[in-house]
């Protein structure tokens, strides 16, 4: 188990490094004047020259990358002509358009994204696993067919469609819920939850569908296995077979998928945040893309990659803990 952990985390670190190379190369080898793009369309030639100097754009690509990597792990200094601007590790660079450090900019947006992700996660796990469990429990009956179709519909509905519909119904027509206006948790927990309810529901409704399907499929698979037959042959009742043996078998892949999904969501629930105007990482990315704020885009893609790789590793480790046979294989 110890070796598995080390090997898995080592692999994750390698992937992260490779990812940073790929992302850096992809964006800083873009056609056109990189300094001009990074600085923004309104920059004067003198400012562009300074940016080029700060990013070492005159040097070969690997030197540029080396400075970038140094910034990530040790922090780096930018000369501003009049003085020196220190950017602490992990330094993802400077956003010239908003005149801020990218790391700070992202950190400021993370709480909103995390609020959205964690709340929706709890909801969709309950909803997804519950639906799956119910459809197995009522298998062969009308309930199962209805749930299967609802789940399919959930898979087929993009979050921005269901979000728009919910806004029309719950906010405009029935006026049950407010249009979200993000309030930080630290300021007012009640308002925080109340305002996030609509985004949570929207996200949970569409995200739950794959979990319902997976739970159902895994449980059905387990129910067909020999060991369930054993317990049936020993007089164990249907309730224990489904609730204890089949559910246990289905849990590992569901948890693994959950870890993956919430990981990538920390990189920004782009659509949900844009639709509901939640000031999170995802909306920041859309804005950065629209304004072609290159350093912010690079930083955000890297941060998202970091969360995905981390979630992947956590998912593997969770699955290994749930099912020791994985480690032995």
């Amino acid at each position: 188990m110890k070796w598995f952990l080390l090997r898995r985390l080592g692999g994750a670190l390698f992937v992260l490094l490779a990812l940073s190379v790929v992302v850096y190369a992809a964006f800083y080898v873009a056609p056109g004047n990189v300094a001009q793009i990074a600085c923004g369309p309104r920059c004067s030639p003198a400012q562009v020259a300074q940016v080029s100097e700060q990013l070492h754009l005159g040097d070969p690509l690997y030197t540029q990358y080396w400075h970038f990597l140094q910034g990530l792990f040790a922090g780096r200094d930018y000369s501003t002509g009049t003085g020196v601007l220190h950017c602490q590790a992990p330094c993802l660079g400077l956003s010239y358009q908003s005149d801020q450090q990218v790391t700070e900019l992202i950190l400021a947006k993370l709480p909103a994204t995390a609020s959205l992700a964690v709340g929706a996660f709890v909801l969709w796990m309950l909803l997804g696993v519950g639906t799956g469990l119910l459809s197995v429990w009522r298998r062969g009956r009308l309930t199962e067919r209805v749930l299967t179709w609802i789940t399919l519909a959930g898979m087929a509905t993009p979050v921005f469609v269901i979000g728009l519909l919910l806004i029309i119904v719950l906010v405009t027509a029935l006026q049950i819920l407010p249009f979200p206006d993000y309030v930080p948790l630290t300021e007012d927990p009640e308002q925080w939850a109340w305002n996030l309810l609509l985004p949570w529901i929207s996200l949970a409704l569409v995200s739950a569908a794959p979990y319902a399907r997976m739970t159902r499929a895994s449980m059905m698979e387990t129910l067909a296995e020999d060991h369930v037959r054993t317990f049936r042959a020993y007089g164990v009742g249907e309730r224990a077979l489904v609730g204890r043996h089949a559910l246990r078998g289905a849990l590992a892949p569901v948890i693994a998928l959950g870890a993956l999904d919430i990981g990538s969501m920390f990189g920004g629930a782009v659509l949900t945040e844009s639709l509901f105007g939640i000031p999170g990482v995802g909306r920041e990315l859309v804005d950065a893309v629209k304004h072609v704020d290159l350093p912010v885009v690079v930083g955000l893609v890297l941060v998202t990659g970091f969360f995905v790789v981390l979630a992947n590793a956590v998912a593997d480790i969770l699955q290994a803990m749930a099912d020791r046979r994985v480690v032995l294989a």
């Binding site: 060991h227 042959a233 020993y234 007089g235 043996h245 246990r248």
Partner: protein
């Protein structure tokens, strides 16, 4: 009242009638063996005793009474009260029959609590008690292990412990030793024997292996195509069968004690086709490296049959793959001066399900550059006829054939390459005994006719004795004993060979008792 009373039992799966008007009974404390080849309906009948066909779409008719419960009329609650408490079942594959996620002791405790008012603690204590009884060493600690941490034999013991937990009056064992090595099989059969004497429970043993039945039961019931063919005391049925089917079945069973009819093609001075000198095959690297074959030297000469026997994990399959060149030895020298081919174990995966069998047989011809479609077709037809298949089946697909027929296709494909040596890797072990006998006879015939050399790899000691001139016994990647077949079987030198031979079930129940005593002596020594 009898413990089990079955009358006029019929079971159909869709259009297939698996069991057709079966009647039998078993007295309390008695032991009945249900023997038959695959498709005889023996397992389906055993499942019916616990009402396990309920809800599966299978149609069951007739009357079944087990321990006073009318199984076909019982409601779900009555059925659950029967299962495990009055009649318990032991299944074939001990790994997949236990829940991989829970500790073995917890699983037994769960079953115990279904049928007894007991605290968790008391149920766990009972689990440890029965695990101890079935011979799990350090049962209290091992009860906290999960099934994959157990060896195959230990898992089967755990499953038997689960069966014992509620002190049932009847134990139904469905092929309980089929997935196990022969030495482990002997231990499990001895355990069942002892438990039966000690607890006085009845035993219904379902098996395809006549020897296993001879070792364990008082009476046998021979089944064929869903019907009972012959029933009687084990000593009578297996020693002096009355029905033609029973006679045919028994004569097809290879006997480990019978000397082989010497082949006329083998000669000591035959030309050496393959020579291995200290070959090793290591899988994995670093700490996890495992030498599957660890320094094996042997020669195969033209026209002879070399048998290779060993239990699972002995490296015999890896050796076979090296001999034909599917694997390169990690170390050692292997010289091959002949065209070699292989016949594989699994009749399902050895033929591509998407290609017609004619195309599969034609592969070696096409690969060697033949282009003339008509000539290839003619040659394939010849080969199919030669292995006893209809030449017109060229365009049919593997799933249309039975296991034995598919092995014949595999042999035809090997012959197409005009080999001088064929390595048969467990080529008959997935087949029923009568089919097995036909396929080994075919191989012997081809050998005589074409002067082929054979390397016959198998775990079944009796089959190997019947076909081989020389035999090599493998254990943990090494050859522990090698020699003329009658010499090795008649007068084994290595202790492991002795142990293996002592574990083979005897067909004669009287002899089986003697051998059981001998095994105990060997184990004590």
């Amino acid at each position: 009242m009898s413990l089990v009373e079955v009358s006029d039992l019929s079971i159909s799966f869709g259009d297939v009638r698996a069991v057709d008007g079966l009647s039998f009974s078993l007295e309390a404390g008695g032991a009945l063996g249900v023997v038959g080849e695959s498709g005889s309906g023996k397992s389906a009948s055993a499942y019916a005793l616990l009402g396990l066909h309920r809800g599966t779409g299978a149609k069951v008719s007739g009357s079944i009474r087990v321990a006073g419960v009318d199984v076909s009329a019982a409601d779900d609650a009555e059925l659950r009260a029967l299962r495990g408490a009055k009649a318990a079942m032991v299944f074939q594959d001990p790994l997949s029959s236990l829940d991989p996620y829970y500790a073995v002791g917890d699983q037994i405790a769960e079953v115990y609590r279904v049928h007894n008012r007991a605290s968790r603690r008391a149920a766990r204590a009972r689990a440890v008690e029965v695990l101890d009884r079935v011979g799990i060493p350090d049962a209290a600690r091992r009860s906290r292990s999960r099934p994959h941490e157990f060896s195959g034999g230990m898992r089967q013991r755990a499953l038997i412990a689960m069966a014992l937990a509620c002190e049932p009056q009847l134990l139904i064992a469905d092929e309980p030793t089929t997935a196990l090595d022969v030495t482990v099989q002997a231990q499990i059969l001895d355990l069942l024997h002892d438990l039966r004497r000690e607890t006085g429970m009845g035993l219904l043993l379902v098996t395809h292996d006549v020897g296993v039945a001879a070792e364990s039961v008082d009476e046998v019931l021979v089944m064929q195509s869903g019907r009972a063919v012959e029933r009687g005391p084990v000593g009578e049925v297996l020693v002096a069968p009355r029905e033609p089917y029973t006679k045919a079945l028994l004569s097809a069973v290879p006997r480990v004690t019978e000397p082989r009819v010497p082949s006329d093609t083998a000669a000591d001075d035959g030309e050496v086709l393959v020579e291995a000198d200290g070959v090793r095959q290591v899988f994995g690297r670093g700490k996890s490296a495992l030498a599957a074959v660890d320094g094996v030297s042997l020669t195969v000469r033209r026209g002879e049959t070399l048998g290779v026997v060993g239990e699972s994990g002995s490296g015999k399959t890896t050796l076979g793959r090296m001999l034909v060149g599917l694997l390169e030895p990690t170390e050692g020298r292997l010289t091959r001066d002949a065209r070699v081919q292989m016949v594989f174990q699994d009749p399902v995966s050895s033929l591509n399900p998407r290609r017609s069998i004619g195309e599969s047989v034609a592969d070696p011809l096409r690969a060697s550059g033949q282009r003339d479609g008509a000539a290839i077709r003619a040659r394939v037809r010849d080969l199919l006829a030669r292995v006893g298949l209809d030449p017109d089946s060229y365009d049919r697909y593997p799933h249309e054939f039975s296991g034995g027929q598919r092995q014949r296709v595999g042999i035809a494909r090997a012959l197409a390459a005009e080999p001088e040596l064929i390595v048969c890797d467990e080529a008959v072990s997935a087949l029923d005994v009568t089919t097995q006998a036909q396929v080994t006879a075919l191989l012997a015939e081809l050998q005589r006719e074409l002067g082929l050399a054979l390397v016959f790899i198998a775990h079944d000691l009796a089959v190997v004795r019947q076909v081989s001139d020389r035999v090599a016994v493998m254990r943990q990647g090494r050859i522990v004993e090698e020699g003329e077949v009658d010499q090795v079987y008649g007068d084994p030198q290595d202790p492991y060979t002795k142990q293996l031979l002592a574990a083979v079930p005897a067909l004669d129940p009287a002899l089986a008792a003697v051998r059981r005593a001998a095994r105990k002596e060997l184990a004590a020594a």
